[in-house]
């Protein structure tokens, strides 16, 4: 695994607040579902809830959430992005923690809201909010100190490091650590697991041919790993890779890593499993 340590050079995860040993009451977690999970794959949301509840958290899902705002933010539309950021902060600031099953959305909430709202009346709130935001798997490992999960999954998996989670939040070892505790599971690393899959949010529809070229490289790496199942921590990347694998007639199943960790692989994989 030492070969991978070089890629996250620049981005070190922000210092986590220490575990509050003294707090006896369960941690109140606000789940930021993410728009893609809400619309396309609720299973990931329920897997996140299960993992968090099993870890002793109480989970609430504020109804005033929609999307993290990245489509606007990354298209240069700061005004809409800032409005969505304020709305999200208002919906979530009462919680001890804000957890999202996505490195990309968590990165937006944690790293980009503060700079987006800098110099506005929300600046301080965005900073305080940022400190409470975590991506799901890194929250389980780094904040709650979980080292194993009671899940079982017969088969081999390969894990793609989604870019924002890897380079903005330093998520690399955490999912591998928990996956290694899943009974029956074998992790087969792919080549270049840290290289982008070509999704890039609106990029994949603005530049479909380039995106396709990049995802073709990725599916070749995935097939090369020889695993039954592809996992990652971001549904956008997963839908992109799953969509390409399916178009290519691949037999590799695609799932969010939380589904495996929560022991929910009895549900059909992305795209229903059927061909």
């Amino acid at each position: 695994m030492s070969e991978r340590t070089g890629s996250a050079e620049k981005f070190k995860p922000a210092k986590e607040e220490p575990l509050k040993e003294e707090s006896i009451s369960p941690k109140r977690v606000g789940l930021f579902v993410t728009c893609l999970v809400d619309l396309f794959r609720p299973t990931v949301g329920f897997a996140a809830v299960k993992l968090l509840e099993e870890a002793g958290c109480t989970v609430e899902v504020p109804m005033a959430q929609t999307c993290c705002g990245q489509p606007a933010y990354n298209s240069g539309d700061r005004e809409d992005a800032a409005a969505i950021a304020r709305q999200t902060i208002e919906a979530f600031e009462e919680f001890d923690y804000v957890v999202a099953p996505s490195g990309s959305c968590a990165g937006m909430l944690k790293k980009h809201y503060p700079s987006l709202l800098k110099g506005t009346s929300y600046e301080a709130r965005a900073e305080a909010f940022s400190g409470r935001v975590h991506e799901l798997v890194s929250f389980l490992v780094d904040v709650l100190g979980i080292t194993e999960v009671p899940a079982r999954h017969e088969g081999s998996v390969t894990y793609h490091d989604s870019c924002s989670g890897l380079r903005e939040l330093g998520i690399q070892q955490q999912p591998r650590k928990l996956l290694s505790s899943v009974e029956g599971l074998e992790l087969k690393e792919m080549q270049n697991s840290d290289v982008c899959c070509g999704f890039g949010g609106t990029f994949c529809v603005k530049y479909p041919d380039i995106s396709n070229k990049i995802v073709e490289e990725k599916t070749a790496s995935i097939e090369g790993a020889g695993a039954d199942t592809l996992l990652a921590g971001d549904l956008g990347c997963l839908m992109n890779m799953a969509g390409k694998l399916h178009r290519q007639g691949s037999r590799v199943e695609v799932r969010h890593v939380a589904e495996v960790l929560a022991g929910m692989t009895d549900k059909p994989a992305i795209g229903g499993g059927g061909r």
Partner: protein, 479 residues
């Protein structure tokens, strides 16, 4: 060079279909990434060096005027001349007038991106001065009438078989039986042709990797030694460099040199690191009689103090493009101007205008790999986003994109309405997929389904299901 960035999409598509190019890019990608990683892993202090290199440039940019003036004084004191050029045209004219004064018919050139930026070769040729590129890669693309596709590997887009073909076409005295199948034999052939040129040339033109304020020295790094011959043998040496190349001291330059080659080619140092200070002194064994420096601004000073200020730290190592999945997919020519890859996507709109270069900052997945390897820690994705913001403010994005985004944002800013709309649309879309659970095509989703299938939504939204769960819980608790 005329900007062709507005045709980025068409050029990208062509590049992806170009098998020769794809073969060359495939090799380059593996080589650069692996070599850099090996060099960086072998140097435990590399991260600290990055930070100190960055600090040096930050400090210099804060006091750029002072260091440039100090540099000028030292150049003059060592017997050289400094020509300030605000625009590309000013720089071209300055080069031409020096060439005219020297009666130059032929000039040799070391590899220099800045002379590409000011399109010096075309200009000199029109004025009757013959430029001869002496870097192997530059020489090859000059023969082909092309521009560099990479800032440190100008002919990166070519395979050696293509180069052999070019040499056989142009070097008419070359015996047909001569083996040119290996890079070494190609280099040997180019050297054989180029060596006499150094002696014929009246002027040698190089760029600079650094200008040292402390001593008035210009520094170039090369691997072939052609730069040394270019600047030592002709009577006149012209250095063309942009203003952000200045660093305060030799010590600063040597600090940055430690990250430069490692980031670029994975070498500890380039084969040649050559320092030039003024013309030949009486006791020097060789060197030019005249030493000129053309200091080019060409829009850089207007980047100072803006969101693009940090781009001026760039030392042109190429690590960003070497690690960029988009660059790997389309190669350098698709970008349509001098500087490709992530650094080009930030710099090109700065130098030629976002109205002409709007595609470049958009054609990024924001994967962040460029920033993670940049030796100067330049936040390239952030600056590409700033260009997207400028573009959005000026209404330069296509109307369909703006409409789509506006439509989406209208709902995303109204959670109640969003909930209502998605709880109707998503189950309908899920039902539409039928038993197959995949869409091969879908209205308004052509960008997605051109190359991949779209998985259907599982069923109802998470929020719908969650509300049911909560309601059931409450009823269960109440009973």
């Amino acid at each position: 060079m005329e900007i062709q960035s507005p045709q980025f999409k068409q050029k990208a598509r062509k590049a992806i279909a170009d098998e020769q190019l794809q073969r060359a890019m495939g090799k380059a990608k593996i080589g650069f990434v692996g070599k850099r990683k090996k060099a960086v892993d072998a140097l435990p202090e590399f991260e600290d060096l990055r930070s100190s290199a960055r600090a040096i440039k930050d400090h210099t940019l804060e006091h750029l005027d002072l260091y440039l003036e100090a540099y000028e004084r030292k150049v003059i004191a060592s017997g050289g001349q400094v020509h300030w050029a605000e625009t590309a045209e000013d720089a071209r004219q300055a080069v031409l007038s020096i060439c005219r004064a020297a009666g130059a018919r032929t000039v040799t050139k070391g590899k220099s991106m800045i002379t590409e930026e000011i399109a010096l070769n075309d200009f000199l040729e029109k004025e009757g001065v013959r430029p001869v590129e002496t870097d192997l890669g530059e020489y090859i693309i000059q023969l082909r009438g092309e521009h560099p596709s990479h800032i440190i590997g100008p002919a990166l887009h070519l395979n050696k078989e293509q180069v052999e073909e070019d040499f056989r076409r142009v070097h008419t005295e070359l015996p047909a039986g001569r083996d040119l199948s290996q890079p070494e034999s190609l280099l040997g052939e180019a050297r054989h042709i180029l060596r006499p040129q150094y002696f014929q040339a009246d002027v040698g033109i190089t760029g600079a990797n650094f200008l040292v304020a402390e001593t008035g020295t210009s520094i170039i790094v090369t691997n072939e030694g052609n730069g040394d011959l270019t600047q030592t043998l002709p009577r006149v040496h012209i250095v063309v460099a942009s203003i952000e190349k200045v660093v305060p001291t030799l010590e600063d330059a040597s600090q940055i040199l430690r990250v430069l080659a490692r980031s670029a080619t994975g070498q500890d140092m380039s084969v040649y690191t050559t320092l030039s200070t003024g013309p030949r002194r009486p006791d020097d064994p060789d060197g030019p009689d005249e030493y000129h420096v053309i200091l080019l601004d060409n829009g850089r000073s207007s980047m100072l103090g803006t969101e693009f200020h940090e781009m001026l730290r760039c030392i042109r190592c190429g690590a960003c493009m070497n690690h960029c999945p988009v660059y790997h997919a389309v190669g350098g020519h698709a970008y349509g101007w001098v500087y490709p890859g992530p650094m080009g996507s930030v710099l090109t709109p700065s130098l030629v205008g976002v109205d002409k270069a709007g595609h470049l900052p958009n054609a990024s997945t924001f994967c962040g790999r460029c920033e993670s390897v940049c030796p100067m820690q330049i936040p390239l994705p952030r600056m590409m986003r700033h260009w997207r913001e400028r573009e959005f403010e000026r209404g330069l994005n296509p109307a369909t994109q703006r409409f789509g985004l506006g439509f989406w944002a209208f709902f995303a800013r109204r959670p109640g309405l969003y909930r209502l709309a998605t709880s109707m649309a998503i189950p309908a879309l899920s039902g539409l997929a039928g038993r197959r659970r995949w869409f091969r095509s879908l209205p308004f989703a052509g960008g997605w389904t051109r190359h991949r299938d779209l998985p259907a939504p599982e069923s109802r939204t998470f929020m719908q299901q969650w509300r049911d769960r909560e309601t059931a819980k409450q009823e269960g608790g109440a009973s």
